[in-house]
């Protein structure tokens, strides 16, 4: 039975364990009782009562930092706070994923290779391609009045953009999309998608060495560090990180954006009338509900943060979701204000590990929302009980049933 008429309802109790003392000791980023916005309320309570909490969950436990200032400090000091492993529980990968789990001195060198490809200017050149894909996915709703926004729009659109940018040939996009979707869903019913992806990328690397293109794998095959080319193993470690990092995160932001537009029609109307405000709305949605709620770090050198002495080997979660609602950093932080400016959130990370694909993600979300709002009016949740979120390293929507009235774009 649904409690309340809106899906997003942070004040709902999160089960019998819903008290600050419990979360301070046992906070679990993947707790299914923290859906519907309760995650953000709980983290806000932790930030106020215990900004350096210690959870006993996952392996040997970990600290949770929730203050904006503390989160920024960690991100500004990658020499002290290692990025490997970047999630808990650990994926089991002995080699760090590149560059998200790389530390200085390699991290910057690895990023330098692909920075031009992901630059704002380079991505701007690709806007028409991204827009074309967005139009294709939204126009499939012509003549309809309902859809599942997650499976019919947000996921396939973002995945298609990314896969093409990685360098997958058109005829292989469906195959790789299937693997990618099973990978993020941790679906092993048809085999191990990680191994399938590994095999596929091995083939793709060889293909792009023979036939270079304007794509990420080609950039990596031509990349060098200090005059030495990347090894195939390094390129594989790059590719294995980019697909989940670039797909699920942006798809999540798009899906949450659709949820908030459906539950806040005034915001949808405002953006429909003022599409030039959409970039600000994108930033605000990523602040308000960052797809990655936080990442993990390993202390490399004894250090004090916010009065707590950390020792080498300690694990820390830097909680972006909590930092983004810190009243010391944001005015009215619990309000979704799509006109917010400036908006220096950490929803894309911060410092050396700032999201590599930030300009790509912003562009995808901008054109995705623009083309959606041009064609879909009166967007509403079809059935609150049909909405489903999936907690994870990236929090995501699993289902978002919407109703709308379709109008052809002018």
């Amino acid at each position: 039975m649904t409690e309340g008429t809106k899906y997003w309802n942070p004040d709902l109790p999160a089960g019998e364990k819903d008290c600050p003392e419990y979360w301070q000791r046992h906070f679990d980023n993947y707790d299914a009782d923290l859906t519907r916005g309760r995650y953000h309320r709980v983290l806000g309570e932790m930030r106020e009562s215990c900004p350096v909490a210690h959870s006993d969950q996952h392996e040997d436990g970990y600290y949770v930092l929730t203050r904006f200032e503390d989160v920024q400090f960690v991100h500004k000091n990658p020499e002290i706070f290692s990025s490997y492993p970047v999630v808990m529980p650990w994926f089991g990968n002995l080699r760090p994923m590149i560059p998200v789990e790389s530390d200085p001195p390699l991290q910057k060198k690895y990023r330098t290779i692909v920075n031009p490809f992901f630059s704002r200017a380079k991505q701007a050149e690709k806007e028409s391609i991204y827009r074309q894909y967005a139009v294709e996915y939204v126009e499939q709703f012509a003549g309809r009045d309902s859809c599942d926004a997650v499976t019919e729009l947000c996921y396939p659109f973002v995945l298609r953009v990314l896969i093409k940018q990685i360098g997958v040939p058109e005829e292989e996009v469906p195959t790789v999309s299937d693997i990618g979707e099973r990978l993020v869903a941790m679906d092993t019913s048809k085999g191990n998608p990680a191994l399938e992806l590994y095999a596929y990328f091995t083939k793709l690397i060889a293909m792009r060495r023979e036939n270079p293109g304007d794509d990420i794998v080609t950039v990596l095959t031509q990349g060098e560090i200090d005059g030495e080319p990347l090894s195939d193993m390094e390129i594989l470690d790059y590719c294995m990180a980019i697909l989940p990092a670039g797909f699920e995160t942006t798809a999540s932001a798009f899906a949450y954006a659709m949820l908030f537009l459906a539950e806040n029609p005034n915001i949808a109307d405002e953006l429909r009338q003022n599409p030039d405000q959409i970039p600000k709305a994108v930033e605000e949605i990523v602040r308000y509900v960052p797809p990655i709620r936080g990442l993990y770090r390993t202390v490399m050198t004894d250090v004090e943060v916010n009065g707590h002495q950390f020792k080498r080997g300690d694990r820390i979660m830097v909680n972006w979701a909590a930092a983004n609602r810190d009243p010391d950093a944001f005015d009215k932080p619990d309000e979704l204000d799509v006109t917010r400016h400036p908006n220096r959130h950490v929803g894309f990370g911060h410092g050396a590990h700032l999201c590599l694909g930030i300009h790509m993600a912003r562009l995808e979300l901008k054109v995705g929302l623009e083309e959606t709002l041009k064609r879909l009016n009166d967007i509403r949740i079809a059935d609150v009980d049909g909405v489903a979120e999936r907690p994870g390293a990236t929090w995501n929507m699993e289902r978002l049933p919407l109703t709308f009235s379709y109008v052809p774009a002018e």
Binding site: E79, Y84, R95, L106, N192, R312, G313
Partner: protein, 298 residues
């Protein structure tokens, strides 16, 4: 920098490219992996399993420099120095110092070390770096008598002893003779490793701990703290099997790299002569061990 010899000090294997040049980016990842583990006290580079005998002087210096660049502040990098004369040792030691070594491990040259007390004293004086002396196993040809060992450990610059003594009674006698003078790192990779550690030690330096360093570090810590049953449990279930499979004289480096390659950590298992490459039988044994322990990816 003050060097504390406490915990596990893996002797790091040397990753190589297909052309047998030093794969330094893999090495950075290895060093940083060790540094993330709180019970790993530091690393030893340019040790025997690090193929020191196959490296030119400038390559040894490069290995130290890469390790230093990779390591976080305060994480000790102990560099092996292997030379036939103390003049050569001093030159190599100063090279290592210049490139970031925090201490030196004094390995025997091809003919052992003449006048070992003088050798250590002069090396300490000429480099100014703390020294870790090395006491070999019975078969190593480098085994100081207790009097010589005590004199070496009396030298002001000698802060540690890495000892491969594999007889617990002999170990205990030597440990008791030097324990007030230096920190002792156990390097006995035999079936009585746990008992050796439990007899008293500051830590351990194990070639085999390149593979699964975290459980090795926990086992070492448990044994030293007297939690012998806990140490034994892991050692008997896996540690001893790793030693049996990976420790094999001149093949140790290649076998260790084979395990790391099969674990998808290193790209290959290549070694330089005089280290010996593995054959199909060796590889099958490593695969069987890792497979039975659930350590093969996929």
């Amino acid at each position: 920098m003050t060097v504390t010899l406490k915990g596990l000090f893996p002797s790091v294997v040397l990753p190589l490219r297909e052309d047998l040049s030093f794969a330094h980016r893999n090495y950075i990842v290895q060093i940083q992996g060790f540094a993330r583990m709180p019970l790993v006290g530091g690393v030893i580079v340019n040790d025997e399993v690090g193929e020191i005998t196959a490296l030119a002087a400038e390559e040894r210096a490069r290995v130290v420099a890469v390790a230093y660049e990779a390591a976080p502040d305060g994480f000790p990098i102990i560099a092996g120095v292997r030379a036939d004369t103390h003049e050569e040792a001093a030159r190599l030691g100063n090279d290592a110092k210049e490139h970031g070594a925090t201490a030196l491990l004094v390995l025997p040259g091809s003919d052992g070390i003449d006048s070992p007390v003088e050798f250590h004293r002069e090396l300490a004086a000429s480099t100014g770096l703390p020294l870790v002396a090395y006491q070999g196993a019975a078969t190593s040809g480098v085994r100081y008598d207790i009097d010589t060992l005590t004199k070496i450990c009396d030298i002001a610059g000698v802060i540690g002893l890495k000892t491969a003594i594999d007889d617990v009674a002999v170990y205990r006698e030597q440990y008791n003779a030097v324990r007030e003078k230096v920190a002792v790192l156990v390097a006995n990779e035999g079936s009585n490793l746990v008992e050796t550690l439990a007899a008293g030690a500051s830590g351990a330096s194990l070639d085999v701990s390149n593979v699964l360093p975290k459980p090795w570090s926990i086992m070492v810590d448990n044994a030293i703290r007297g939690e012998v049953d806990a140490a034994r449990e892991w050692f008997d279930s896996l540690g001893a099997k790793l030693i049996d499979t990976l420790r094999n004289g001149g093949k140790t480096a290649a076998l260790t790299k084979t395990a790391l390659m099969m674990s998808a950590f290193l790209p290959n298992n290549l070694v330089r002569p005089p280290a010996t490459a593995v054959d199909d039988t060796d590889s099958a044994a490593v695969a069987e061990l890792l497979g039975s322990a659930g350590l093969l990816p996929g």
